[in-house]
């Protein structure tokens, strides 16, 4: 395995992503956890750039480290935000969950650790956004339109769910 610049970039980004995830598990304050996860999301955007998916990387930064993080911070702010994430879960339960996940990780890792897939030269990095746009508006037009309907339904549904319905009893 050669230590090219690409490999070094991959190692750095993967390290930042995993450190962000581990901090998510170990920090005590809820806001700190969300901020730690921003590092993970930005590092994953870098991984997408390495995989010649520049448009997905831009969308990742916009949606995840922008929108979803902010919406989660709003959720923390609107609820009880001063409590520590208390560690009074049963030790045995945590241990059992950890063992189960370790078993799952080991089973999947056996499948992928020397996974040799052929690699052919690609043209994905040339005009990446144009390729995505062409595919999205020709081959995947119906899922694209369904996604817009899904987003509308989610918007209306979440407003109705979060709406304060106190005045039903008062005014009627």
């Amino acid at each position: 395995m050669t230590f090219s610049g690409e490999f070094l970039a991959f190692m750095g980004l993967a390290l930042v992503a995993i450190i962000g995830g581990v901090l998510l598990l170990n920090l005590t304050k809820v806001v700190h956890m969300v901020v730690a996860l921003i590092f993970t999301f930005v590092a994953i955007a870098g991984i997408y750039v390495l995989l010649s998916a520049e448009f997905v990387a831009a969308v990742q930064i916009l949606i995840y480290s922008g929108a979803i993080t902010i919406i989660m911070l709003f959720g923390i702010m609107l609820t009880k935000h001063d409590d520590e994430s208390e560690p009074k879960t049963g030790k045995w339960r945590k241990l059992l969950v950890f063992l189960g996940i370790a078993g799952f990780a080991f089973a999947v890792y056996i499948g992928i650790y020397n996974f040799n897939i052929v690699q052919v030269p690609t043209t994905l990095h040339e005009n990446n956004t144009m390729q995505i746009g062409k595919a999205l508006y020709s081959k995947y037009i119906i899922p694209f339109e369904l996604t817009s309907a899904l987003l509308l339904v989610a918007l209306v549904g979440s407003i109705i769910l979060a709406k304060n319905e106190k005045k039903e009893g008062d005014s009627e």
Partner: protein, 104 residues
């Protein structure tokens, strides 16, 4: 051609998925559980984009799938947060252990 093997990307996605799964199963704050689920969806996206580049006939389809996953995940986060806020209004707690009215 990339000098990083595909299994390195898959292993990174596996580690992030396991971190997200552990967080979703052990954390008590519902917001953190939701954001752990987002982390798991991100790990899946890494796999999709990896297989859009590697393999015998690489194509743009994997990246399109990743974009659809991102939009569905955003909708899921919004609806989950709305449910959380209306639950908080009713029960004054975000502790996931106390949200058990459907259990009894």
């Amino acid at each position: 051609m990339s000098s990083v093997p595909a299994s390195a990307f898959l292993a990174l996605a596996l580690i992030l998925f396991c971190i997200g799964l552990y967080g979703a199963l052990t954390k008590r704050n519902t917001v953190i559980v939701l954001i752990s689920i987002e982390l798991m969806l991100n790990a899946v996206n890494i796999n999709l984009v990896t297989f859009s580049k590697y393999g015998l006939n690489p194509s743009i389809t994997g990246q399109i799938f990743a974009l659809f996953t991102i939009s569905v995940a955003a909708a899921e986060a919004a609806v989950g947060l709305a449910i959380l806020i209306s639950l908080y209004r009713a029960k004054k707690t975000v502790n996931i252990d106390e949200m058990d009215i459907m259990k009894h």
